[in-house]
Symmetry: C2
Subunit: 176 residues, 2 copies
């Protein structure tokens, strides 16, 4: 069983190199970028301007291969990094290298097929495979929320920057 996906558009952002880029949108406050849809998809942006945030699903185009146990950016800042199960991390090297980022919507230009976004943490040129509106009743958890090994360190995502650990040979890495 295989699924064949194609880009619906591409990210334009200030981040052209993985190393040093934010690892999450919380580290990219104020950074402006855009999602340019390919011709033919523009009409699907109608009504999106009424939402404040969207989820971008994208392909980690500079990632390849995966390990089921990884040391995430948020661990190991002092060589103390603990390995974590891949599905308990947001690391880019995954069996299916799909990324998920919550982005704040700026202006939506339906005619041009462009969504201007704020707090973008994605590399310039990232292929986008889907856009979904953020809807609190669907996407905000109910009840107690626990963040496991990330816990309070999740806040460090605002300052931690990517290093080269997820770089494939001859490539950069992605910013998550």
């Amino acid at each position: 069983m295989e699924f064949l996906y194609r880009p619906i558009g591409f990210v334009r952002s200030p981040f052209t190199e993985a190393k040093g880029s934010p690892i999450q949108p919380s580290g990219a406050r104020g950074a402006e970028g855009r999602i340019d849809l390919l011709p033919g998809y523009a009409a699907g942006l109608a009504d999106l301007a009424g939402f404040s945030h969207l989820f971008a699903l994208y392909h980690f185009h500079r990632s390849s291969g995966f390990d089921l146990s990884v040391t995430p950016f948020l661990e190991g800042r002092e060589g103390q990094g603990a390995p974590r199960g891949l599905f308990a991390t947001r690391a880019p090297r995954r069996p299916n290298p799909v990324g998920l980022s919550l982005l704040r919507i700026g202006r939506v230009d339906v005619a041009a097929g462009v969504v201007h976004v704020v707090d973008i943490d994605l590399l310039d040129g990232t292929p986008v495979i889907d856009l979904k509106p953020y809807v609190p009743v669907f996407d905000a958890p109910t009840g107690e929320v626990r963040s496991g090994w990330i816990g309070e360190s999740g806040r460090d995502a605002a300052t931690v920057r990517a290093d080269g650990r997820f770089v494939a040979p001859g490539q950069g890495t992605d910013g998550e």
Copy 2:
């Protein structure tokens, strides 16, 4: 440019028919299900039990084709449905039919490669392409949140059930 993805596992849930199934987890409070990973991926579940929620990314396997303008389940309950831009909806018929659901984590059996989940809204047999931990600092929006055309009606997702509108010929539809 094409991306080839493969299932990492499959959903087991009480919902075997699309028609009448919940359209979002908020309509499936208490429904228990599981995600069974394929052999070889189980070790990636380590450390996931420390999190309260996860995002499941999956393939809408009963969906085919798409329209850029759709009438979502939440509109049109009385024949008054307004068409909406596809990327302002969570409808299953999309250029790349990837679904996104926030699920509450029950027990995680790493050795067996099984995640028990609660409030599941997915059809039995749905192919899963990725699991990501829910991390508030990444996934909870900051600032004002607006839900566009969904607005208050998002709460209806707890009671609205799927009908046949997204059914492909000879198939069911998915529950989002």
